[in-house]
C-alpha cells in the first residue's frame, strides 16, 4: 500500500484545504496519497521521513509503506553543517625577523 496521509482538524469544516509543507493540500477529514516524488520533496524540505515527521501528530494518520530506501534518505537529508565542515589546519609558518637578511 502506498504512503497515505490523513488529516482531520476538529475545529474546521470538512474539506477545508490544509497545506502541509512538502506534501501539498489535504482536505480536512480526507487523505492524500504520497507518491515517490512528493515523498522526496517532503523529506528534502523537512529533513525527516513522512512517517517520522507526522506520526506524533494526533490530527494526522500515516498509513502504508515508503518507497524510499535508506540510501535515498541519506542523500535527501542534509548533514548538519557542524558535522560536515572539517576544521582547517593551518601549518605554522616560521616568523622571519626583519633585518635578518
Amino acid at each position: 500500500m502506498p504512503l497515505k496521509v490523513s488529516f482531520e482538524h476538529p475545529h474546521f469544516p470538512k474539506d477545508t484545504p490544509f497545506d502541509i509543507m512538502g506534501l501539498g493540500l489535504v482536505p480536512n477529514g480526507g487523505s492524500l496519497e504520497v507518491d515517490e516524488d512528493m515523498e522526496r520533496q517532503f523529506v528534502s524540505l523537512n529533513g525527516a521521513s513522512v512517517r517520522d515527521a507526522l506520526q506524533d501528530n494526533e490530527m494526522v494518520k500515516v498509513e502504508g509503506t515508503t518507497t524510499l530506501k535508506q540510501t535515498d534518505y541519506d542523500e535527501l537529508i542534509p548533514q548538519d553543517v557542524n558535522d560536515t565542515v572539517q576544521p582547517v589546519i593551518v601549518e605554522e609558518v616560521p616568523v622571519v625577523e626583519s633585518g635578518e637578511s
Partner: protein, 328 residues
C-alpha cells in the same frame, strides 16, 4: 543547524485544558497561525550575589522567578483571531452552527483561568519554531490588544503574558489554510449616541486611520513554591481607547470633547455575509482633541483619542467575530 530565516518559522496555539500545563503542537485542536513577527521571551531577574569578600565584582548567580512575555503581530484573520480572544479577559458567547459568531465582552476576572472546553476564557500554549527548534510557552494570556489599519489591512498587535517555558516533546505538523484578510475595502467606522446597544446610521467618512487599544494591565505573579515559573496571571484595571485623525470640518466634535459628550464608536471589517470582525465601544469620550495649523500645505486635521467607559445595561465594549473555526 544552518542559519534560518523568520519566514521558515511557524507559530501554533493550543487552548489549554489545565492552566499552565504545556500542550505541544501535536495536540488535537492546535492551530498554526500565520503571524508577521513575534518576540516571546523568557523573562527573569537573575540573582547576582553581592557578597563582600574582598572583591568588587558579583560572586555568584542563582536562577530566580520567571515568566514569559512578548509581542505577536498578525493580520486579523477571522479563522484565527478567536483563539487569541479566548485567551484574554473576556466573557464569551458563541452562536450559530457554522460559521460561528463569537462575542467577547470585558470581564472583571481578577486572574486568568482555563477550562477543558466551552465558550469560557482560556489560557493557551503557544509554540514558536525558530530555525527548526521549538520553544513552548504555557499559560499564555493576551494582556494587550492593538487593532489597527495598516496600509488598508486590519492588523492585530498582541501583548502576551505567560506562566512558563517548556521544550516541546513534538513539533507536530504545520498545516495552513488560505489567508482571509480584511483589506482596504472591508472597513467602515460608525459613530452614534452612547447606548448599551447603539443604533448606528451611515458610516462616517471623516476617519483617517483607526487604532483601538485594550489593556488589562496584567502581571505575572510568582509565589513561593518549588517552581520558579509564575503561579498565575493577575488582571488589573481595564483601559480601552481608540485613536484616529479626523478631517476638521466643523466644531461639533471639538465641542463634544470639551463637553465630555459620550458617543458609541464601531470599527467593522466585513467580507459580505461570510465573516466579519466588529469592535464596538458602546460609550466613549474624547480624551484628547487637538487641532492646529500644521503648515502651509497641510490638511487641517484633528488628532483624537477616545476613552471607553462603562455603561449601564451593557458592556463597555464588544468584539464580535464571525468565523469558520468551531472552538469547542
Amino acid at each position: 543547524m544552518p542559519a534560518g530565516l523568520g519566514g521558515g518559522g511557524a507559530v501554533a496555539i493550543s487552548l489549554e485544558a489545565v492552566m499552565g500545563t504545556y500542550q505541544d503542537p501535536s495536540t488535537v485542536g492546535t492551530v498554526w497561525v500565520p503571524i508577521t513577527n513575534e518576540g516571546l521571551v523568557y523573562t527573569e531577574d537573575k540573582y547576582y550575589s553581592p557578597q563582600i569578600r574582598q572583591q568588587t565584582i558579583r560572586s555568584d548567580v542563582k536562577q530566580s522567578y520567571y515568566h514569559v512575555e512578548g509581542p505577536i503581530s498578525m493580520e486579523v484573520d477571522p479563522a484565527f483571531i478567536p483563539y487569541f480572544l479566548h485567551c484574554s479577559r473576556h466573557l464569551i458567547a458563541k452562536a450559530g452552527t457554522g460559521p460561528y459568531t463569537y462575542t467577547y465582552t470585558p470581564s472583571s476576572a481578577g486572574s486568568a483561568s482555563t477550562a477543558a472546553s466551552g465558550a469560557v476564557a482560556r489560557t493557551a500554549s503557544i509554540t514558536v519554531i525558530r530555525d527548526g527548534i521549538g520553544f513552548g510557552y504555557a499559560g499564555c494570556n493576551i494582556n494587550t490588544w492593538e487593532f489597527t489599519i495598516d496600509n488598508g489591512v486590519l492588523m492585530a498587535n498582541l501583548g502576551v503574558l505567560g506562566l512558563s517555558e517548556a521544550t516541546p516533546a513534538a513539533l507536530g505538523t504545520p498545516a495552513w489554510i488560505d489567508p482571509n484578510l480584511y483589506g482596504a475595502d472591508s472597513h467602515s467606522i460608525y459613530v452614534a449616541a452612547a447606548d448599551p446597544a447603539p443604533t448606528f446610521g451611515a458610516a462616517s467618512i471623516d476617519f483617517n486611520g483607526f487604532t483601538a487599544n485594550l489593556n488589562y494591565n496584567a502581571t505575572a505573579e510568582n509565589r513561593i513554591r518549588s517552581d520558579r515559573s509564575a503561579s498565575y496571571i493577575a488582571f488589573h484595571e481595564t483601559e480601552a481607547t481608540w485613536s484616529s485623525e479626523l478631517d476638521f470640518v466643523s466644531k461639533t466634535e471639538y465641542d463634544n470633547f470639551k463637553a465630555a459628550t459620550t458617543r458609541a464608536v464601531r470599527l467593522e471589517s466585513v467580507h459580505g455575509s461570510t465573516d466579519f470582525f466588529r469592535l464596538t465601544f458602546n460609550r466613549t469620550a474624547y480624551d484628547t482633541y487637538t487641532v492646529g495649523l500644521g503648515g502651509m500645505a497641510d490638511l487641517i486635521m484633528a488628532n483624537t483619542v477616545g476613552r471607553a467607559l462603562g455603561i449601564s445595561g451593557g458592556p463597555a465594549y464588544k468584539i464580535e467575530v464571525k468565523s469558520v473555526a468551531n472552538i469547542a
